[in-house]
């Protein structure tokens, strides 16, 4: 966190100054480790074993926050008697189809509340193969999967098939000794962490977990976060100040680009993209949710309002609000699948918008082969990035695999405007929208991306204006008139924000609860409804922090409804009283008859704590006054996920796809549902690679380097690509400090200067010693600070829920000296492939 989010880390340092204990678990010793109270070096790819052992520690020592667990989680729910755990099946859950490498999740369901059946196959939405292909777990960026009604429960948590008991059995083998064996963390060190976390959780104290892509870039990435969620829910650390699981995201608006997604599988506000097989019309699309409980029960209103925002007067009840204008998914259209389609020649045109996959995506060669096989490529950036110059200086030109004169890709480099040259909002890592104002005009041909897409849309609409082909109706009918400003004809970002916020019969909307399913409201992103409440740009609010409460509700605007901590009803006990004076946040004021506190309550403001829903109620009306997790169908935090995940209802440790070690926990070595991308340019490592390799960032650079390697002040601070190795590994391989090393996988070989450092430590996993190679991944051939791209040696294999690639744990070999050039490089890699 100190490494990649230094200014956010000021709050950690402040907490430390007030007595908080800082624990850092990481494969490498970073700037964060340097100021932490406890540093725990861990083998890359083994965190579920570590977190699972924490869960086990909590359960075996009775350290759970019992009252919170019983009231606010699904610990008491009784699971279907057909359910079989990894304990029973040696690493698999019930329902596994070995041929399809997919689960039928039906046996994971609650007893008494079978999984909801929509218009299509029930397994599609809530697990299983299609769910996996279309990454529908991502919909749960704003709430869990669908289950209907309430399960049978045992509030004593003693029933052998209740979630609590299943959890106990599942994690029983995740012992401190197992941590030592799997993670390379001494049992004593593990216990130090376990004791600290449990001692610091409960009524009066909370523990926060922070993570970044070190947890997500795995074939089990989603289950990493799930394990953390289970731990935090057991300890009562969700929805409370000082608690939570905080994602530290690396790009200015990566949260915003998920909320308003430039992602294949979702529409704005986490509404899924319709599926060809399942969603024949609007009715079947919303049917699954129409009967739902929790706030997702209003999905029809969110969807209709979105369709009204896009197709305006053309969207009517009579034509399903133009639902049919939406393209349909049939499978995985994620970025890595798309690259394979580019290589196959099906995908011919590509836009790269502030992104540099030739350096930043796994298996750079795969990326560049895709780029080289396009008809045309549009790159929009500030600087001349590698993804725009692959045809003249990509590594494949040097090896002779590609020749400039034979690459047919037409490339347009369209200079982009910087943040100082345009109005707009970023959504930061805590869901906070902050407006930035334009300070100067962009130079020369540089234009904002808003300008580019708006004017491109105008040109395309002009070309299709007289078409009679029904395929062009969505373009012809699209609402596409924004206020143009200044000599450049810049579309007004404020007018786009107004469309995102939404309008109703009485003008701008102020809350998503106003959205209707009858076409009377329009809203471009329901979770952002209210960002222009009262017609005022709430994201541009800048009341100084020192002039308001510590929650600072008058700075910017957080979705949803300006709530700063979501699920904050859980900061009060079931009766609505603060768990403790010290951790007071939101509570029930019985005299006023409403929820009050420092934040906007994430709860219906006047629903009393003792509210009991009526039989058959739907949406939020089906949730009781003590059900804080309002986006969940049952209002509970899910320790056990009866639906919604492709790879199991509970996290289990599997080895990374490329690991030199066998799984000590189960016979099942890897995630049985992991997503492979089989292609000759994406071979997976065999046994010839004895070391673990992981990639990461440095404070001085930014991701793929386009915004840092081009700047003198940053380039001089980290001038060159290097690898980090321990003195022991250096000795074993003959590597010299500041000399060169070649790092090899079955994809490629790269060279790096050697940094021999005690910060890299060989770990002892019982009898074995783990050597890890650390690679910062910022570099490429362009800019002021240059070097090989670490991502070139990574293969592409992904998490089955969200298609995020396993970039944080793989295998490699490392040898002294510079890498061979030209054909000799290919020969070296081929030799390693032959060896296995």
């Amino acid at each position: 966190m100190a490494e990649c989010h230094p200014v956010g880390f000021q709050w950690v340092m402040e907490a430390k100054a007030r007595g908080a204990k800082i624990i850092h678990v990481d494969p490498r010793f970073t700037r964060t480790s340097a100021v932490s109270d406890v540093f725990v070096p861990i083998r890359a790819g083994s965190d579920i074993a570590f977190l699972g052992a924490l869960v086990n520690y909590v359960l075996t020592h009775g350290k759970e926050f019992r009252e919170y667990v019983v009231a606010y989680t699904n610990a008491a729910a009784i699971i279907n008697e057909d359910f079989k755990d990894t304990e029973d099946l040696d690493g698999l859950f019930s329902g596994f189809d070995a041929e399809k490498r997919a689960y039928d999740h039906s046996s994971w369901a609650y007893q008494g509340a079978e999984a909801q059946s929509g218009a299509g196959d029930p397994s599609d939405r809530t697990g299983g193969q299609q769910h996996r292909a279309t990454a529908q777990a991502e919909q749960h960026g704003s709430g869990g999967a669908t289950v209907s009604a309430k399960p049978d429960e045992d509030p004593t948590l003693e029933h052998p098939r209740c979630v609590f008991q299943i959890l106990k059995r599942h994690y029983a083998r995740y012992t401190p000794e197992m941590v030592e064996e799997v993670c390379g963390v001494p049992a004593a060190k593990f216990l130090e962490v376990a004791e600290a976390i449990t001692a610091n959780s409960g009524r009066d104290r909370t523990t926060a977990l922070c993570y970044a892509v070190g947890w997500t870039q795995h074939t089990v990435g989603v289950q990493y976060i799930r394990t953390a969620s289970i731990l935090q829910a057991l300890l009562g650390n969700i929805g409370r100040p000082g608690g939570g699981i905080l994602a530290l995201r690396g790009h200015a608006s990566i949260q915003g680009s998920t909320d308003i997604p430039t992602l294949f599988n979702i529409l704005p506000g986490y509404i899924p993209m319709p599926h060809a097989r399942q969603h024949l019309d609007l009715a079947s699309f919303v049917a699954e949710d129409a009967g739902r409980t929790g706030f997702w029960g209003n999905m029809d209103s969110y969807t209709v309002s979105l369709l009204k925002a896009w197709w305006g007067e053309h969207a009517t009840a009579g034509n399903d609000f133009c639902f049919d204008y939406l393209p349909r998914l049939t499978g995985d259209h994620g970025t890595y699948s798309t690259v394979l389609r580019q290589i196959e020649g099906e995908c011919k045109g590509y836009f790269l918008v502030g992104e540099n996959p030739a350096v930043g995506s796994a298996n750079g060669k795969l990326q560049r082969l895709g780029l080289a096989n396009l008809d045309w490529l549009v790159v929009r950036d500030l600087q001349m990035i590698e993804s725009a110059t692959f045809w003249r200086n990509g590594p494949e030109i040097e090896t002779g695999e590609l020749r400039t004169e034979e690459i047919g890709t037409e490339v347009f480099f369209m200079p982009a405007a910087a943040h100082t040259e345009k109005d707009g909002s970023f959504t930061n890592t805590q869901r906070l929208l902050q407006w930035h104002h334009k300070a100067v005009d962009p130079p020369g041909d540089a234009r904002s991306d808003l300008w580019f897409y708006y004017h491109l849309g105008k040109l395309i609409r002009h070309r299709l204006r007289d078409s009679t082909d029904p395929r062009d109706l969505p373009v012809q009918h699209l609402t596409w008139s924004y206020v143009e400003e200044g000599p450049l004809g810049e579309p007004s970002a404020e007018s786009v924000l107004a469309e995102i916020n939404g309008t109703g019969p009485d003008g701008p909307l102020s809350a998503y609860t106003q959205l209707k399913n009858d076409g009377s409201t329009s809203c471009g992103c329901w979770i952002y409804c209210g960002v222009r409440a009262d017609g005022v740009n709430q994201a541009a609010r800048r009341k100084p922090g020192r002039d308001q409460t510590w929650v600072a509700p008058d700075w910017g605007w957080a979705w949803p409804a300006n709530r700063r901590i979501i699920y904050n009803r859980a900061s009060a006990d079931p009766d609505g009283n603060p768990w403790s004076e010290r951790k007071k946040y939101i509570w029930w004021d019985s005299a006023a008859g409403r929820w009050v506190g420092a934040d906007v309550p994430d709860f219906e403001p006047t629903k009393p704590p003792d509210f009991e829903p009526e039989e058959g109620a739907r949406a939020q009306d089906a949730l009781g006054g003590a059900d804080p997790f309002i986006m969940q169908t049952d209002g509970k935090a899910w320790l056990f996920a009866p639906a919604g995940l492709a790879d199991g209802p509970l996290p289990a440790h599997y080895e990374p796809l490329e690991s030199p070690y066998s799984n000590p926990l189960y016979a099942q070595q890897v995630n049985p549902t992991l997503q492979r991308y089989d292609h000759p340019a994406n071979p997976y490592n065999g046994s010839a690679f004895p070391y673990v390799v992981t990639t990461y960032r440095l404070t001085e650079h930014h991701t793929a380097g386009g915004m840092s390697r081009t700047l003198p002040y940053l380039s001089e601070l980290q001038p060159e690509f290097f690898c980090e190795v321990s003195p022991e590994l250096a000795e074993e391989r003959g590597l010299e400090h500041l000399g060169w090393a070649t790092i090899i996988t079955s994809r490629s070989a790269i060279e790096a200067r050697v940094m021999v450092t005690r910060r890299m430590k060989p770990l002892r996993m019982r009898e074995q010693v783990v050597h890890q190679v650390g690679l910062p991944y910022h570099w490429g051939p362009n800019g002021l600070s240059i070097g090989d791209a670490a991502n070139d040696i990574l293969g592409v294999a992904a998490d089955p829920n969200v298609h995020i690639q396993e970039a944080k744990a793989a295998t490699c070999d490392i040898i002294p000296g510079r890498r061979p050039r030209g054909q000799a490089l290919l020969d070296l890699v081929a030799e390693y492939r032959r060896r296995g």
Binding site: H5, V7, H251, A252, S253, I254, G256, S257, I260, T262, F264, L267, A276, G334, T335, T338, K348, G349, Y350, V353, E355, G360, S361, D375, W376, R380, M384, W391, T404, E406, I407, T409, V411, F412, F413, P415, H419, T420, F426, N428, T429, Q434, H437, A439, A446, L450, Y453, L456, R463, P474, A493, V496, R542, G545, G556, S708, L711, H803, I804, Q805
Partner: protein, 187 residues
């Protein structure tokens, strides 16, 4: 004349409070004029750091239409006026001489960049989008179910852009039937 003489360092040294010539006596004309360039800015614009997702507040100082300084916004309850090295390099980011400010074009099988007029480039891109869209159009699947999409066009990027930009991208692409729309959040 007297004033000119009395501004002479030696005179100041002998007649003033700084006989050793280490302080006031040696202040130069430029030193006397010292003022921070932020005080001379024509405008100060509130902005947000474009690097990571912490969302630190920035103040952008502009003089004669040029950015002269970017520093932390002390009002921000998130950053309290502080910036990391990348945020502190923001001025260099936006004023970088290596920024590409002209449309560049590489023709198929070309070996060099060529310059291209912005309007021409926009028209060419629009033509190509329409063509690629139509060539790879899929109206129905093999079983006659609606697809209404094209796999001819893909897009990657958005995490460094504004919400409003992502919105127009997703809206336009979806209307065109382009589904292979992705950004760094997948990575």
């Amino acid at each position: 004349m007297r004033q000119w003489l009395s501004s002479w360092p030696v005179i100041r040294q002998v007649t003033g409070d700084d006989p050793w010539g280490r302080g006031n006596a040696v202040r130069s004309a430029a030193t006397e004029r010292t003022a921070p360039r932020t005080a001379e800015a024509d405008s100060v614009t509130r902005s947000i750091c474009p690097y990571c997702a912490v969302g630190c507040g920035q103040q952008v100082f502009v003089k004669d239409g040029r950015v002269t300084q970017i520093e932390g916004d002390p009002d921000s309850p998130i950053s309290r006026g502080r910036l990391c090295p990348k945020g502190s390099a923001s001025k260099q980011l936006v004023t970088s001489p290596s920024r590409v400010t002209q449309v560049l074009y590489r023709r198929p099988y070309g070996t060099e960049w060529e310059q291209l007029d912005l309007d021409t480039a926009m028209e060419m891109i629009a033509d190509r989008v329409v063509e690629a869209r139509n060539e790879a159009w899929q109206q129905q699947d093999a079983e006659g179910r609606t697809l209404r999409r094209t796999l001819g066009i893909a897009s990657l990027g958005g995490a460094t852009l504004d919400n409003e930009e992502n919105y127009l991208m997703k809206k336009l692409y979806t209307a065109l039937g382009a589904v292979q729309i992705e950004n760094q959040a997948r990575i």
